[in-house]
């Protein structure tokens, strides 16, 4: 079934896009990630212009994270104070990101930048996750208890001035740390169309040292608001949000997410983390290969 995308200016097979959204949604429900890091590259492989892909993927992540954010909020799994600081940083980041987007587009380097960022981020995060999951799996097979982690924030964070108390997170740190973290993730949301959960969650655990019970909820909370802000910024600057494309992705992903969430309850979390790490590394590898092999199109029109 062909459908014309009014902003992307091309027609796509609606079923393929819904299925793509469904697949990403399934994974996102299963692993508790937004899935933007899969949507954007897959849309680009399908032939959607990168800008439209990133902008519309951000819109889709909003829908993918709303139910999770609500559920965690009801359960008290959101540190509102931390969330507010992260969101403030995220808003700042999405504005900086918009400036960068414009600059890089004018230089003609936006596609390469998106590619390199994906390779570096997914490669390193995927690598860390794989190592951690491997260790957990080995421990599981040996019948040992999982190695307990000492919870504390990074010394760099401890050195920042002006400390606030974040009760839910069990932290007494400078708000500058989450502000900067939020801003960095906001930039990535703007440029890559990712929610940034795959960076936010490890950063919250390893850099800020947040309590595990509020990490995922607060991250989803921040993703929800920052992707909303990003959609707005994209709509007002690049004009690249394709509401039809986003709608199709959403139809698939919100359904897929529910199915994925059910499926996840039947599988051990260590295996899930390993599977996610492998998927992340595969996407990174595919992007890296794309940088070095001769592209189909040497010439591009802007």
């Amino acid at each position: 079934m062909d459908l014309y995308l009014p902003v992307a200016n091309l027609s796509v097979n609606a079923l393929v896009i819904v299925l793509l959204g469904g697949g990403v949604g399934f994974l996102s429900g299963m692993f508790g990630v937004g899935g933007g890091f899969l949507t954007t590259p897959l849309l680009i492989f399908y032939g959607i212009p990168p800008t439209v892909a990133a902008a519309s993927a951000a819109t889709q992540v909003t829908g993918a994270s709303v139910s999770g954010a609500l559920a965690h909020f009801e359960r008290g799994g959101v540190d509102l104070r931390m969330g507010a600081v992260l969101i403030a940083g995220g808003l700042l980041g999405s504005l900086i990101g918009a400036g960068l987007f414009e600059l890089l587009t004018a230089w003609g380097q936006i596609d390469t930048t998106i590619n390199i960022l994906y390779v570096v981020l997914l490669g390193s995060v995927g690598g860390l996750m794989a190592r951690e999951a491997w260790g957990a799996l080995r421990a599981l097979q040996a019948g040992l208890p999982a190695p307990a982690r000492k919870r504390r924030h990074h010394p760099m964070v401890a050195n920042l001035p002006m400390r606030w108390r974040f009760y839910r997170s069990g932290l007494y740190i400078s708000p500058l740390a989450p502000l900067i973290l939020g801003a960095l993730v906001g930039i990535l949301t703007m440029l890559l169309g990712v929610g940034g959960g795959f960076i936010m969650v490890p950063a919250m655990i390893f850099l800020l040292g947040m309590g595990a019970q509020v990490v995922v909820g607060t991250s989803l909370f921040q993703i929800l608001f920052v992707t909303i802000a990003t959609t707005m910024v994209h709509a007002m600057t690049t004009g690249a949000v394709d509401i039809v494309l986003a709608g199709l992705l959403l139809l698939g992903s919100v359904t897929g997410a529910q199915i994925g969430a059910r499926f996840a309850q039947k599988v051990r979390p260590e295996y899930l983390r390993m599977a996610l790490a492998i998927i992340v590394l595969l996407v990174a590898l595919r992007m890296a290969v794309g940088l070095f092999i001769r592209p189909d199109e040497i010439y591009t029109v802007q």
């Binding site: 062909d2 459908l3 014309y4 009014p6 902003v7 200016n9 091309l10 027609s11 819109t59 889709q60 909003t62 829908g63 993918a64 994270s65 709303v66 139910s67 609500l70 559920a71 003609g108 380097q109 596609d111 390469t112 909303i228 959609t231 707005m232 994209h234 709509a235 007002m236 600057t237 004009g239 949000v241 394709d242 509401i243 039809v244 986003a246 709608g247 959403l250 139809l251 919100v254 359904t255 997410a257 529910q258 940088l291 070095f292 092999i293 001769r294 592209p295 199109e297 040497i298 010439y299 591009t300 029109v301 802007q302």
Partner: protein, 256 residues
Amino acid sequence: MTRIGASIAALLLLLLPAAAQAVDPRLVPDVSSRSIEIQYSFTGEELLLFGAILYPGQRLPDDRADIVVVLKGPVRPVVLREKQRIAGMWVNASSIRLRTSPGFYAIGSSRPVDKLVDERTAAIFELGLKNLSMSPTGFSEAKKLERFEAGLVDLYRRMGLFYENPSAVEITEGVLYRARIPVPARVPVGTYRAETYLISKGRVLAVASRDVQIRKAGFERFVALAAQRHGFLYGLAAVALSLLLGYAASALFRRR
């Protein structure tokens, strides 16, 4: 097709007395639709360019005349970038600006254009993909320019935005002609010009043109306009849609 044939015949009868007084032959061109509307299921369309050749005194000349049809989209300024291998990576390394790059160009003829006219004439009338004048700005070497223009033509050709078919025009009884031009889904919107050239013995005897509007219609037009002009409201709508769908799905599944 018979309907079109009948309308051509009617047109012909109407115009015959007037044509009889003219010295040079004239062209009476038309297109199968004056406006193409892009809607939700638009996957491209085929435009039929047809018409009649009116010879003075209704006498057909001894030599066979040829017809060239051109469908040209709106021109716009573009930046054309070229990827090169730098440190093993393919990145955009060099670019040129073209002030008048057509977003769509299709040419069909009854015989290959280079057999009909010499290069100079072809260049004057912009007949053929080699002869598009794209007005590059700034200084760049002729060689680089040539390479870039060839790259653009190749790219657009594979996207279906440039099209060349030396046997697209069919001439019936020396007076009626018709040609089909495929218009792909990703065409830019705007005012297109369908031009017809009557060529004989290397000379362009008559030129005639018709405008064709290609525009988005209905919901697609509404969305595209909203995205362009009302970014804030459009953004709000997109956000509302995603919140609603996300919430609806979780509410639906929770109940089960």
